[in-house]
């Protein structure tokens, strides 16, 4: 088995008296899609924010590519990108301008060619000069994904990438992610409240509840362990117990 591309050990985050993430450990293998599942407030977003170096852990360690995030932030983030429903990109800039800024932040060269490639992938090649403010929510999500894959990351963190999308666009996004994973060997950490999507996308799932890992394995292993028919039933059972 190859060395994990991401290793999280005993990761904990406290905000005052409340504990958002409580001593969690998991790995992601190269090319793997790991689903991070749990009800609201389970600690999924805080975990991703710690993995991106935006929130400092109270305890525990995060290693990517064999390097410690606390001491090698720049080298690690150079090879990582993310997309989240909860952030956006400057509205007054065109799509091309926004992607150009991102490419420069990551020190990319041959930017124009790469922008063409990703816009084609997300089916927005005709919108290159469109002002971001004028995009629909579906186009905005595709732009966020274009931004995330633009820098050719080795790990992608996706926080509810298909939330607020209609089923057609959501399907296209999932298909795109699968295609990118297949062609680049990209590893992905994925959060979603759509259980079907989780089952479809994830090789393995980490189930969080009140900041702790309550189950870890494939969708099938988790449903069997809790004696339920599918992930949705597991989710409802755990969410209602909490």
């Amino acid at each position: 088995m190859p060395a994990p591309i991401l290793e999280v050990r005993n990761l904990t985050k406290r905000f005052g008296d409340s504990i958002a993430v409580d001593d969690i450990s998991f790995d992601i293998q190269p090319g793997e899609i790991l689903g991070l599942l749990g009800p609201n407030g389970a600690g999924k977003t805080t975990t991703i924010q710690m993995l991106l170096g935006l929130v400092t852990p109270t305890a525990g360690s995060i290693r990517m590519f064999g390097l410690d995030l606390a001491t090698h932030r720049e080298q690690i983030l150079q090879q990582v990108n993310f997309s989240s429903t909860y952030i956006s990109m400057p509205y007054s800039l065109t799509i091309e301008e926004n992607l150009w800024v991102v490419a420069k932040l990551y020190g990319m060269t041959d930017i124009s060619r790469r922008i063409d490639e990703v816009l084609k992938k997300v089916e927005m090649e005709d919108s290159r000069t469109k002002i971001t403010r004028r995009l629909s929510s579906g186009q905005m999500t595709r732009l966020a994904l274009a931004k995330a894959i633009l820098t050719e990351p080795k790990i992608l963190f996706l926080d509810e990438p298909t939330a607020s999308l209609d089923p057609d666009i959501a399907h296209k996004i999932r298909a795109l992610l699968k295609e990118v994973r297949k062609s680049t060997g990209l590893s992905v950490l994925y959060t979603s409240h759509n259980m079907k999507e989780m089952e479809e996308m994830s090789d393995r799932i980490v189930f969080l509840q009140k900041g702790r890992i309550v189950a870890q394995g494939t969708a099938q292993e988790i449903t069997q362990r809790f004696g339920q028919r599918d992930l949705e039933e597991v989710f409802l059972k755990l969410a209602r117990e909490s």
Binding site: F15, T46, L52, G53, T56, L77, Q78, N81, I87, Y106
Partner: protein, 263 residues
């Protein structure tokens, strides 16, 4: 007209006054600063009984130079606010970008802003009042550079406070610099201030700059001592403020505030 509906709206705004910095500033901060600055200007004018040498030169020059400081500060703070408004901070700080690189970029932007605004103001002053800001001569250059650095220092301080306390504190982007105006002695000499306030003003690089500029206009002597004080104080405060920004940045990451600053 129903009184209960009017009452509801009045209460809705009064509720806000309990915890709204911008609204409290409207009541306490701005009237206080207006009174202090215009009060000292009045004292200055009364003292000299209208026999001020080159009154237009004094006030127009002071106004243009104050704007240099103000725009330098805004160049930093507004750039940070733009990222908050665009919900773009996470995109930036989840990239390899370092906080020091972010600050450096905002400082470059502030130079662009200062240059553009200075050209506009100098042109307008020449066109409307036949006032040439360059009549001060080459002495202007080191003082303007110092003013830009003072603006950066106030900009970094303001940005740190906004990052720590969130969007509620964004009004400081426009208000903070005016807290320094009375002790910058922009429109009056430092001797107009009471002794205790003079002591504070001498610790402000901007006060040395404006005193120095007045000395150039009055005596044509290059105020090397004021320039040295302004530069020394600026360097000291600049190092302290950049350190403070990094400290605040780390506190915000610790407390999860960086990802919530735009909420």
């Amino acid at each position: 007209m129903k009184l209960h509906r009017i009452n509801a709206l009045v209460q809705r705004h009064l509720f806000l006054y309990r915890r709204s910095l911008p609204r409290l500033m409207e009541i306490f901060y701005w009237p206080f600063l207006d009174l202090v600055v215009w009060g000292f200007i009045t004292v200055y004018l009364m003292k000299f009984q209208g026999q001020l040498p080159g009154v237009v030169t004094f006030f127009l020059g002071a106004l243009i130079l104050w704007d240099v400081l103000f725009r330098a500060q805004q160049g930093i703070t507004i750039s940070f606010l733009e990222e908050i408004w665009a919900r773009n901070l996470m995109n930036l700080f989840a990239s390899p970008l370092k906080p020091s690189e972010f600050l450096a970029a905002t400082m470059v932007l502030s130079i662009f802003k200062v240059a553009a605004v200075s050209v506009v103001m100098a042109t307008c002053a020449l066109a409307f009042y036949d006032y040439n800001v360059f009549m001060i001569g080459l002495s202007l250059v080191p003082f303007v550079l110092n003013l830009v650095i003072t603006g950066w220092i106030i900009g970094v301080l303001t940005t740190s406070i906004i990052m720590r306390f969130g969007q509620e504190a964004e009004v400081l982007a426009w208000g903070m610099v005016f807290l320094f105006q009375p002790v910058s002695c922009v429109f009056y000499p430092i001797e107009v201030l009471p002794a205790w306030l003079q002591a504070i003003a001498w610790g402000n690089p901007a006060a040395h700059i404006f005193e120095g500029m007045r000395m150039v206009l009055n005596t044509s002597v290059f105020p090397a001592e004021h320039l040295a004080w302004a530069t020394g104080l600026n360097l000291l405060y600049f190092v302290l403020m950049v350190g403070w920004f990094h400290y605040t940045f780390n506190v915000c990451k610790e407390q999860g505030l960086l990802v919530r600053v735009g909420e």
